[in-house]
């Protein structure tokens, strides 16, 4: 099942708000894409303030929380990336 991107984005934002790095997340972008084999997937880009000073474990936990939040409602794989908000 695939659900609309606005609903998915809100689920992702909710997951970020519950994370230990919530204060550093500036924005979330979500793109639906299709890989070269024709499989639909989602590209989730989390914009983070001061990306150079991060504790990897905190962002690893956020990545997994976003994957869980999306996979619970949508069949497309969410590939989560972190970019610098600056």
């Amino acid at each position: 099942m695939q659900i609309d991107l606005d609903t998915l984005k809100q689920r992702i934002i909710d997951a970020t708000k519950q994370s230990t790095v919530a204060a550093r997340v500036e924005n979330v972008a979500l793109e639906a894409d299709r890989d070269e084999e024709g499989t639909d997937f989602l590209r989730v880009i989390v914009q983070v303030k001061d990306l150079d000073h991060t504790v990897d474990a905190d962002f690893e936990a956020l990545l997994e929380a976003i994957e869980r939040a999306v996979s619970a409602v949508d069949e497309r794989y969410p590939s989560v990336r972190f970019s610098d908000a600056a």
């Binding site: 890989d35 084999e37 499989t39 590209r43 880009i45 990897d56 990545l63 990336r81 972190f82």
Partner: protein, 186 residues
């Protein structure tokens, strides 16, 4: 002796190491190469697993394992792993994956399998962007997290050695050889 996937993960790590006193952002090429290398570590780990579980582990069989590995495709691995990344295996392969001792019904892939599947699919998507699409942003943090994830899921797979784990791994490796399809798709 380090396995090839170990060597690749070490190479992925070294690409992200700064020289003493070096500050600022790492060159994009190193970040992207590290991501690509972490993906290939997972890819070669899967190739090794297919070779050893289907052909055997004896040294004399190395050449046969490598010949078999050449038949495994990126797409075939992804198609297979996509069917076991959730808490329930895809219905099209449940019957094949079910342990001989298990009752009929849904098949739940073990956690170490789901974790490897998710890491592989994530790595493949990132590797494609890293190698072919410079418009897609990928950060040093992305590269570090992917490498850590690859190393962790490989270790968890290797540590899972019960009879049920071995049976599931074997069935999954056969499915990978079949490109995830028990019957040709129409």
């Amino acid at each position: 002796m380090a396995s090839y996937d170990d060597e690749l993960l070490e190479a992925a790590r070294r690409l992200l190491v700064r020289c003493s006193g070096q500050r600022g952002k790492l060159p994009s090429a190193r970040i992207r190469r590290s991501i690509s290398t972490s993906y290939y570590a997972l890819f070669h780990f899967v190739l090794d697993e297919v070779g050893t579980r289907v052909v055997g582990t004896h040294n004399d069989l190395r050449r046969r394992r490598r010949i078999l590995s050449r038949t495994v495709t990126h797409k075939g691995i992804k198609t297979t792993l996509d069917k076991v990344r959730d808490t329930r295996a895809d219905p099209s392969i449940e019957d094949f994956l079910r342990s001989p001792a298990a009752a009929p019904g849904p098949v739940a892939p073990p956690l170490f399998v789901r974790n490897l599947a998710n890491a592989f699919i994530d790595a493949q998507a990132k590797r494609h962007d890293a190698d072919y699409d410079m418009n897609k942003p990928l950060s040093e943090l992305d590269a570090r997290l992917l490498r850590t994830r690859a190393r962790r899921v490989i270790a968890a797979w290797q540590a899972s050695r019960t009879a049920a784990d071995r049976d599931f791994k074997h069935a999954l490796c056969v499915l990978i050889l079949l490109k995830g399809l028990l019957r040709p798709e129409v």
